[in-house]
Amino acid sequence: MKDQLLLGAVAYDPKVVTIWDGFKAWFDRHDLPFDYVLFSNYEQQVESHLAGQVNVAWNSPLAWIEAREAGERAGRRARAVAMRDTDQDLTSVIVVRSDASIRTPADLKGKRVAVGAADSPQATLIPLLALSEAGLKPGHDFEIVFHDVLLGKHGDHIGGERDAARALSEGTVDAACMMDGNHLLFTREGTFPAGRTRVLAQTEPYDHCNFTVFETAPDALVDRFTRFLLEMSYEDPEVRPLMDLEGLKRWKPGRLSGYRPLETAVGRFGTLDRWLGEMSAR
């Protein structure tokens, strides 16, 4: 591998190319040898990262747990070096129709609950954990209706959440799960007509994506990369459009405290058992 920092990112949307081309040009101007490769799914990205094909991975929260778990099994140590300000303290909500007789999560027993993609932390795993902690067994006490838009992309694409919200509006399900920001969006854009839905429950806060590195990454380059990110300012008209596209106002140091809800969910539902088993067997 050349003496450069090679980043892996998942192509969940065409704008990903614009974003990373833009950051690459910016890093070039700041003399940081940087390039990126795109993956079609997070599992392949984590696998390639572990194989040393990229130095740093822009990981979804589930991919972070995959990297950490698979890394541990291989004697590797993952760390999160940076994340967006918008990756911190998200919540998800479980929404029902206003006129429904559902008053508590327990009332969802025997009902149909719309979620996003099976691998979406925010629209599936974390809300299902909240229902599980309320005493319901997902798939047993209530039916899970998945909206698998672009599986392998961990719900990065908003389509699954929008489909779940539409299903609720159209009356084909009794509840729908989504991130708080998307609830705001669906309310403002009219997917949820005013006054027609009600938030049944809100999850505890959790964190989203991070830049993950393993201990084998070139320290000096990773340090410079991290420092550049943290120094990047929304005042800078060159990077502001990229920050807008990537959905942040500033980069923050990576933190691990916000992944506990997802870790619990993954552990409880055995979400990664099969994949981790396959990885270990290789």
Binding site: T86, G181, L184, T187, P237, G247, K249
Partner: protein, 397 residues
Amino acid sequence: MTTAALNLGDLGFDRGAHVLVKHALRDIGVGERLAVTGSSSDLGLHLRAWCRAQGHEFEPGPGGGLVTRGGAEVGRWKGAETAGLPDPARQGAVVDQPPGRWGLAARGARVEAGSPEFRFGIDDKDLVWAEDIPRLYAQAAAAQWDPATAIAWDTPFTLPDEIEDAVVQVMTYLIENETAALILPARFAGLLHPHFREAMQLLAIQAADEARHIEVFTRRALLKRPQLGLSTAGGQASLKTLLDEPDFALAMFLLSVLGEGSFLSLLWFIRDHAPDPVTQQVATLTAQDEARHVAFGLAHLSRHVEHDPGLRPRLAQAIETRYEALRQTAGLNEEVFDALVLLTAGAWNAEAIGKGHDQVVGLAREMGEGREKRLRRLGFGGDEAARLSELHTRNFM
């Protein structure tokens, strides 16, 4: 640290609560706090999501939440520039060379840093501006007329066949000339930096004037006849030299000061000698517009010559170059000349024709005098003005 407070009542983020929150945050400093309360059911949830997207810190609180203002909005407008001033009469309102990054922003707007770089072909105030332009634009906007109602198209009249044919030929000639006069300002309007707003608007209105002229000349030509007259190679060659001139100052000089200036004399002449009331009205209205076009050309070129003395020899050169290019062409086609004689004669007899001929010859002299006068206004000496006027195309435009 004090905490400002905002009560949203029952207004939720589904119905625009963010407008009030944004407004309240602008009244406090970055890092200061705003306690937001309200009775909307999803207020805490939506306030959290909205704050995250906007770069503000959020802490849940009773009936809403506590917002700590982030620096993103202030950051976005750091380095923004004010693109001149909207009122052109104020000092510094119209800058000498507006930068491409001001793009399409309204003059006087605050332009975010990092806006894309536009490339406008004409971005030099000396080329396009004159203090009089805002007034000329206002006048032009106020003087627009509706071809359908401004002219009494159904006024009854009958001309001798030969005279009617002559009117059709003159109209046919006017249409192709006005087409050139439409294309040039339309082309330059698209090249002008929009910072020179009133100049751009004036060019646009000038193009619209010509569009109307083309309409009324066509309508008059077809009033009694099913088809139009002749278009000659020489006439088109003359007009082509106008369209081939890429330089704004030179093209507008040839078009407005010399061409439209001559046309002004022609239209007044047609107005005064029109054989029928419709032709007379058409000429009257179109001449009013042309007078404004000439005034615009003279205004910006006078200022330009004042700021750039090197322009005057270039203007002279442009006339000479055009003269050389047209030397081998026939000039005003005989059909148009004869048609003008007949139009002026108004009757098909030797005496009227003789009189008409004399008057058309007189018209050519008047046109020359008008050109000389305008050239002198641009600072050309008497002899030079007379010489250059002589070199102007015999096709008038």
